[in-house]
């Protein structure tokens, strides 16, 4: 799927693809030639070595010419213990008054386990319930066989990871993987999309079987009332939702989904249109994808290569013989969309009925979604599994009882993937997932990030007892203690960069600088135009401006290397640990800078736990919080 063969334009890292059309000017390389950027002195990037050693991702599409498997469509029903039937059947045993009450009270029984390659896992089960059995046989034979064949050709490590994840999610409980590594993204995607296709296929088979039964019953005795145990569907057809930040992510998932539907047996309809709309337009070169490893940080390349439009939604319909992209929402099985794309659709149609019957929710790249607009994610998730406003011609005699009772959210399976954890994503996991089958969270112990040697890192704690006051306390501490201290010092009050993780804090600090501080400062935010950015960098580098305010989102989207920094103030620890390393390496871009010339201050409170943990490592962060 690589579109790197078009060498006319260069894509940097913008949200809007249209801005990177061939004509638009890119100043990036003109100002700071690439070879200079590589001139590092003592600084070493923690993940640059990783990036160097990472094997080039080669898409291996294995086409196993197999017998048309249609004959086995009415495959012998495994038995009554099928994971799909026991969880998503008409009367799931897990769904009881007490289990729902326990979920609503948020009474979960927690236990720790080690789950093979997934590592240490916290399992949460509603109080008084039993964890469902996990079995590999949950995957249909027809899907499993080709998958096993392909697995045989990939590294063992990945195969084990996939099997461990599949056995974990086969019991249809929620899974939260907040620290996946970039190498694992692809195998995880493939395993989850196998699970999703398996879900859709099982649902379709059940429906077809019941259709047949109804037809038989009608033929045998037209006057008799039809069988009543045919409740096998939701209000609307879509049962899988995949929430993604960018079009390029949708392309990745498309690749993963279609890898389970090999070509001879299944046709992909509208494939070329999908590739055209979700890839880069012809004649564009993906600068990130084609750059030498090490020029850009790994995470930046992974996140921003390809089409980075964040407004899209597409329906995927699976039938016995085809995968149809761009099918109408009410006639599709899988919806792939960005939160923004869905929100706009919901607001335009004034209904989110197509989200009423989602049974498997996948949210990928949470770390990018938090950098976009978290409100949109919450908006979309709040519309899941609600009673629809219109019947959309649903057959009400076929709707599963727990949909009628409004209990669908207690059975929905959610799978959340992220490379790092934020309070938002944790709260999503803790409060909005109500699956009575339980949920699991993968734990990770972090090691400290690497920083240039010799820099004195001054981590300053401020007291805060209530998360609600956290922003105010931080602001007060910054303006009354930290900033005056910095301004007193002749050395520290110039060439100083202030890095601010939250956008809200950023605006507040910017306004404060405007009004009170009386120092000259430049601003780099995600809303800055290219012109503003170059002006700001220039002014800061030449010393015209003493301070520069940088928002985390700016760094996330643009990844500029800021020159002329001698003093760094972190208003809070950055969400992305590598940013800490990168910013601390910035001073060494300039000639003749010694580590002793650089100062670094980090402001933190106990509510910065996740971010602190990633920078100082799990143990280090514990000590820091305890010491305070």
């Amino acid at each position: 799927m690589s579109l790197s063969q078009n060498p006319t334009t260069r894509l940097l890292t913008l949200l809007n693809v249209s801005a990177t059309k061939a004509g638009s000017k890119r100043k990036w390389t003109d100002e700071f030639p690439a070879e200079k950027l590589n001139k590092r002195k003592t600084a070493r990037f923690a993940d640059s070595s990783e990036a160097d050693s990472a094997p080039a991702v080669v898409e291996v599409v294995i086409e196993t010419p197999e017998e048309p498997m249609d004959t086995d469509e009415p495959e012998a029903e495994a038995d009554g213990e099928d994971a799909y039937e026991s969880h998503f059947g008409p009367t799931p045993s897990l769904l009881s008054e007490s289990s729902r009450a326990a979920v609503d009270r948020r009474a979960w029984a927690a236990s720790r386990k080690t789950y093979g390659k997934l590592g240490s896992v916290v399992e949460l089960v509603p109080e008084g319930s039993q964890a469902g059995p996990s079995s590999e046989s949950a995957i249909l034979e027809r899907l499993r066989t080709p998958f096993k064949k392909r697995q045989a050709k990939q590294p063992r490590d990945q195969t084990e990871l996939q099997d461990d994840l599949l056995s974990a999610i086969s019991s249809n409980r929620d899974a939260y993987l907040p620290s996946t590594s970039w190498e694992h993204k692809k195998p995880l995607r493939e395993a989850i999309s196998l699970h999703a296709i398996n879900h859709v296929t099982k649902k379709r088979r059940r429906v077809l079987k019941n259709n047949e039964r109804l037809a038989h019953a009608a033929k045998a005795d037209s006057s008799a009332s039809p069988p009543e145990d045919v409740q096998d569907q939701g209000f609307t057809r879509p049962s899988v939702l995949i929430l993604l930040p960018f079009r390029s992510s949708a392309l990745d998932w498309f690749t993963a989904l279609t890898s389970h539907t090999p070509a001879p047996a299944l046709q992909v309809e509208n494939q070329s249109r999908f590739l055209a709309e979700y890839g880069l337009s012809p004649g564009m070169v993906d600068k990130l994808a084609t750059a030498e490893p090490g020029v850009y940080p790994r995470d930046h390349v992974e996140t921003f290569k390809g089409n980075v439009d964040d407004n899209f939604r597409v329906g995927v319909k699976l039938t016995r013989k085809s995968v149809k992209m761009f099918s109408e929402f009410y006639g599709c099985d899988i919806i792939m969309a960005s939160p923004l794309g869905l929100r706009r659709s919901i607001e335009k149609e004034k209904s989110a009925d197509y989200l009423s019957s989602i049974e498997v929710l996948v949210v990928d790249q949470l770390e990018a979604l938090t950098m976009q607009n978290w409100e949109h994610v919450k908006f979309v998730l709040s519309h899941l599994n609600k009673l629809p406003k219109d019947s959309h011609n649903a057959d009400f005699s076929r709707i599963k009882p727990w949909y009628l009772d409004g209990h669908a959210e207690y059975l929905r399976q959610s799978i959340l993937l992220s490379t790092l954890e934020t309070p938002e994503t944790r709260s999503l996991f803790n409060t909005t997932l109500k699956n009575v089958a339980g949920k699991m969270r993968v734990e990770k112990r972090w090691t400290p990030v690497q920083v240039p040697e010799g820099i004195d890192q001054n981590l300053t704690h401020f007291d805060c007892s209530n998360p609600k006051d956290e922003a105010d306390k931080r602001f007060n501490y910054f303006t009354t203690q930290l900033l005056p201290l910095v301004l007193k010092s002749a050395v520290q009050s110039s060439n100083t960069a202030v890095f601010i993780p939250s956008s809200f804090d950023f605006i507040r600090v910017q306004n404060y600088f405007k009004k009170y501080s009386g120092v000259s400062f430049a601003v780099l935010s995600e809303y800055s135009t290219n012109q503003e950015i170059s002006r700001a960098r220039q002014a800061f580098f030449t010393g015209k401006k003493a301070f520069i305010l940088i928002s985390e989102r700016f760094h996330f989207y643009k990844r500029y290397k800021i020159r002329g920094i001698r003093n760094l103030i972190f208003y809070g620890p950055p969400e992305h640990p590598q940013f800490y390393t990168e910013l601390l390496s910035c001073p060494f871009l300039d000639e003749g800078v010694e580590a002793a010339d650089v100062t670094c201050r980090v402001l933190y409170s106990k509510y910065d736990w996740f971010r602190l943990e990633r920078i100082a490592g799990t143990e280090g962060a514990l000590e820091l919080i305890k010491a305070a």
Binding site: D395, F396, D405
Partner: protein
Amino acid sequence: MSSPPSFKSLGLIDPLLEALEQVNFTTPTEIQVEALPHALEGRDIIGVASTGSGKTAAFALPILQKLWEDPKGLFACVMAPTRELAFQISQQFESLGSSMGVRSAVIVGGVETIAQSVALAKRPHIVVATPGRLLWHLENTKGFSLKGIKFLVLDEADRLLDMDFGPVIDRILKLVPTERTTYLFSATMTSKVAKLQRASLSNPVKVEVSTKYQTVSTLLQYYLFMPLQDKDTYLVSLANSLAQNSMIIFTRTVHDAGRICIILRTLGLPAVPLHGQLSQSQRLGALGKFKSGSRKVLVATDIASRGLDIPSVDVVINFDIPTHSKDYIHRVGRTARAGRAGKSITLVTQYDVELVQRIEQTIGKQMELWPTDPEEIALLKERVNEAGRVAAVELKEQNANAKGGGNGRKHRRDDGRSREDERDRDDDVVEAGIPTQRKKFKSR
């Protein structure tokens, strides 16, 4: 008859007897005594009994008993002409069937359809519906049918079988099985055989407790004669003198109901309106306030004239004389229910004399003149006229607001629903029995 029959001797099963005890139904009423044995035999029944004589229980009990023998979803369907009546019937079913765990669903217009579809998909035992919305669901809700029902009940059957509801009922009847038990109940029954055939009864038993259309003997009926222009004043003086009682004032039009309500409120008598141009929640709210006793005066159109069982009503005032004598019987049947005493007072102007005479002929009784004090009327007149002007202004504003919101009176009625709902209309849109176009209200 040797000893007074009890529910037990009528052959009811224990769970029902328990429930009856709980709701304090001790002895069966006449219609129940007459109808239950036939019903338990499985016959079709045409039941006619005067207002407030326990008709609802008379058909609910046999249905519940049969349901106990063969419990299944969508067992019986009950149709009623107004939404309020449908809610009331459903409540009665649930309270009588509480020990059996009976589930019933109310399917009426003016409420979101999707929630009703969901309720129907849960296969309630009893469906209580107004015809228009029921037909809508039969035709539009996929997977819902009444093919399995065993009982069909038309409450206020004469009303349901007349010309307004007729075509809808015909279509519904085509969608229910012919092998079923059918009950028709009303206080007044049409004698036209053609109409009865619509309901396609098979070998029905006619159970009549009173042969002539009757009002109950505990009801004292009065009239009040006055010139048309002083009608408002007389009403206020009447309402004032009866202020301790809970009363229903019936008007012919929605406009009058709103206007009188405002006049009474302006003069310090807390009144609530109930008519078809209120939303369903407003209607239920108004009825709730009146039932609970927090408001003593209900100003209603004919929407409230049939079937509603509000035990505490002491007085019924007919502000406008009903054009049909049947409607008169239903209206005054809101009071003096189940053996209690009650009064009805009909305001008669110089133009209404003939109508009153016709009513008197139908009920076979003479009304008495309600005494008034002409001095008091003269004193009140000025204040009432003032209140009348206030009311006119307020109504005008309300209308302007409704239209300003892009929500004219016409539009409010459909709520964006199909025209089918329109047939689930209320009795105040068209005068009962006169299926002409809506008359423009003429002010005097």
